[in-house]
């Protein structure tokens, strides 16, 4: 037996490596090609026809910035994501702190309810909100407000998971030390707890943004018409119909925005947790998304 086979009795796992790389190519190549078609010089979304940016800016009637319906979809997606981010993050942070420390009657069921949106199929969730906003809460009705509420509701659970993970990592020691040294409770929260939670807060903001911008089902069920159409809804409506690469350009822009938000989340998380030991930040952030289809 050679020393190499002693170290690794399975031999070189060529088969496994092959399967993995074929899978990775299969999972990403179609998206890369869809991005490539966005830069097509011709009208085709199925055949390569040179390079241009006409479907982003150039074409006055059909490009993303020429066609008002595409531009509105982009603006509306960004609006929903921005609002969802600003509402879901503070609510989720408070909820996470509360659930982590609150030991009393009702804390058990509250824990279940806070995590339940993570495992509820989005269709069930969307039908529920749709029926709520068309019956009991018909005063709010369908539209932008309902969409923001929907996005906040499903993304809050993600914030809870992220912030609780951070609370567990930092532990209660520093806070207890501050309290022992005479810091009043509010000062402990404001000057000790919040700075310690900073990486989780930054990551939460950007992840809620990314979840909201990628969402399809909730946006569609709670939309009230053309002016509440988001980018995924526009792509869904036109994927099998409208034949220009402007749709690819729109999808590309959205992907770029999502990945920039996540890249920023990763960098900010790394910056705040520099010098700390523990699992890789990117795996922590990525492993949280268990929603499916969002």
């Amino acid at each position: 037996m050679s020393s190499a086979s002693l170290r690794n009795p399975w031999g070189k796992p060529r088969f496994l490596a092959g399967v993995t790389w074929v899978y990775i190519i299969w999972s990403l190549l179609p998206v890369l090609l869809a991005i490539r078609f966005a830069f097509n010089d011709g009208r085709s979304r199925t055949t390569l026809q040179g390079w241009s940016t006409r479907w982003f800016f150039g074409d006055s009637a059909f490009s993303v910035f020429g066609d008002p319906t595409l531009q509105d979809a982009l603006t509306h997606s960004l609006l929903l994501a921005g609002l969802a981010m600003l509402i879901a993050t503070p609510l989720g942070i408070l909820l996470a702190i509360g659930l982590q420390r609150w030991r009393g009657r009702g804390s058990g069921p509250s824990n279940v309810i806070a995590l339940l949106p993570l495992v509820t199929p989005e269709l069930v969730f969307a039908v529920g909100l749709f029926l709520l906003f068309t019956t009991a809460l018909a005063t709010i009705g369908l539209g932008t407000t309902a969409q923001v509420i929907g996005h906040v509701t499903f993304s809050m659970s993600f914030v809870v998971v992220i912030v609780r993970g951070r609370l567990i990592t930092v532990g209660p020691d520093v806070e207890e030390a501050a309290a022992d040294l005479g810091a009043p409770p509010l000062a402990v929260i404001w000057r000790i707890l919040l700075p310690l939670l900073a990486p989780a807060i930054a990551a939460s903001l950007l992840i809620v943004f990314a979840l909201s911008i990628d969402d399809f089902v909730v946006s569609q069920y709670l939309a009230s018409g053309a002016d509440t159409t988001t980018v995924p809804m526009r792509i869904y409506a036109q994927a099998r119909a409208a034949p220009t690469p402007a749709l690819n350009a729109l999808a590309t822009l959205m992907l770029l925005i999502t990945l920039m938000a996540l890249g920023l989340a990763y960098l900010v998380f790394k910056f705040f947790t520099r010098g700390e030991k523990g699992g890789s930040a990117i795996e922590q952030i990525a492993s949280i998304d268990s929603g499916g289809g969002r």
């Binding site: 055949t47 408070l94 804390s107 495992v119 998971v161």
Partner: protein, 303 residues
């Protein structure tokens, strides 16, 4: 005041929010499903359980049992999900296994590439395939050049050569493509936690590689496999958009399409709500199972 109880106030705004927009929203489904309709077929929810009217729920249940009008859809949904889940396992296990134990210096890159699909909008990933599988698309051309379309046709899996023309196989493969990342990542995490020393111990005690896999690694990764399978099965069960994008034909409709058609398309929202109650009842066991694993993992981190 008891310091431990004061933290409850922190949780209050979030809990009120979830109470209204998650718990009451689900209760709205129940109230509409067990409610009535007015003369314009608009649903009138019955919020008081004493007023519940089981008529629509009975009608919905009768339609999903053998002989009912939606029975074929139920059978198809179970078949599609079953095949898609088995394929996810067959593709996902080797990938997660390689990434966690053998990727070596490529590990960081492999993990990033496995995570990437999570963050590309699901609709965009499906849309990419509608570009490729159009009759003149590169995907169709490649499959034709490799004679895969004729192979599938001769096996009876493909009708004609148009992959987007109402083919069950396209919907199944699209579901696998869409959801397999959600299987790989939890499995990767679970395989990653297996202590290398346990595997070395099996080897030192004379287990040849195949039996150390079957008798040590596989049993130890069972919770990860189950969690991953539940995680892909839940969204697949409520999926309707994959079917519409990749086929659109009623001959490939899934249970999610039935609900979507009743709620968004037709006038029978009460029936749609009843269908949603049935779907939730079937999935509840799986949801609670996954929630338990999730909470146990959080507990482990805390310990």
């Amino acid at each position: 005041m008891d310091r431990r109880r004061i933290w409850g106030f922190f949780a209050a705004p979030g809990m009120v929010w979830l109470g209204v927009f998650f718990v009451v929203a689900f209760y709205a489904v129940v109230s509409v499903g067990l409610g009535n309709v007015n003369t314009l077929y608009q649903p009138i929810p019955h919020w008081n359980p004493l007023d519940w009217n089981v008529g629509y729920l009975v009608q919905a249940v009768e339609s999903v049992i053998p002989g009912g009008q939606n029975w074929a859809v139920v059978v198809r949904t179970v078949l599609y999900l079953g095949v898609a889940i088995v394929l996810s396992l067959l593709i996902g296990y080797p990938v997660a296994y390689y990434a966690s134990r053998h990727a070596g210096r490529w590990r960081g890159l492999v993990v990033i590439l496995l995570i990437l699909p999570f963050w590309i909008s699901y609709i965009m990933r499906m849309f990419a395939w509608t570009n490729l599988l159009a009759p003149d698309g590169y995907g169709s051309k490649l499959l034709s050049a490799l004679s895969i379309d004729t192979l599938f046709s001769s096996l009876g899996l493909l009708d004609g050569t148009d992959w987007l023309g109402g083919q069950g196989i396209t919907v199944i493969l699209a579901l696998v493509y869409g959801y397999v990342p959600f299987f790989i990542l939890p499995l990767f995490a679970s395989l990653d936690r297996i202590d290398q020393r346990v595997i070395e111990a099996a080897r030192d005690l004379g287990a040849p590689p195949p039996s150390s896999f079957w008798r040590v690694i596989l049993p130890m990764s069972k919770p990860g496999i189950l969690a991953g399978l539940v995680l892909v099965a839940l969204p697949m069960a409520g999926d309707y958009y994959t079917q519409t994008l990749m086929s659109g034909s009623p001959s490939t409709s899934m249970f999610g399409n039935v609900i979507n058609d009743y709620i968004q398309g037709g006038p029978d929202k009460s029936l749609g709500a009843s269908m949603t109650i049935i779907l939730s009842a079937v999935l509840l066991v799986f949801m609670l199972y996954y929630l338990r694993t999730l909470r146990r993992e959080q507990g482990e981190v805390a310990a």
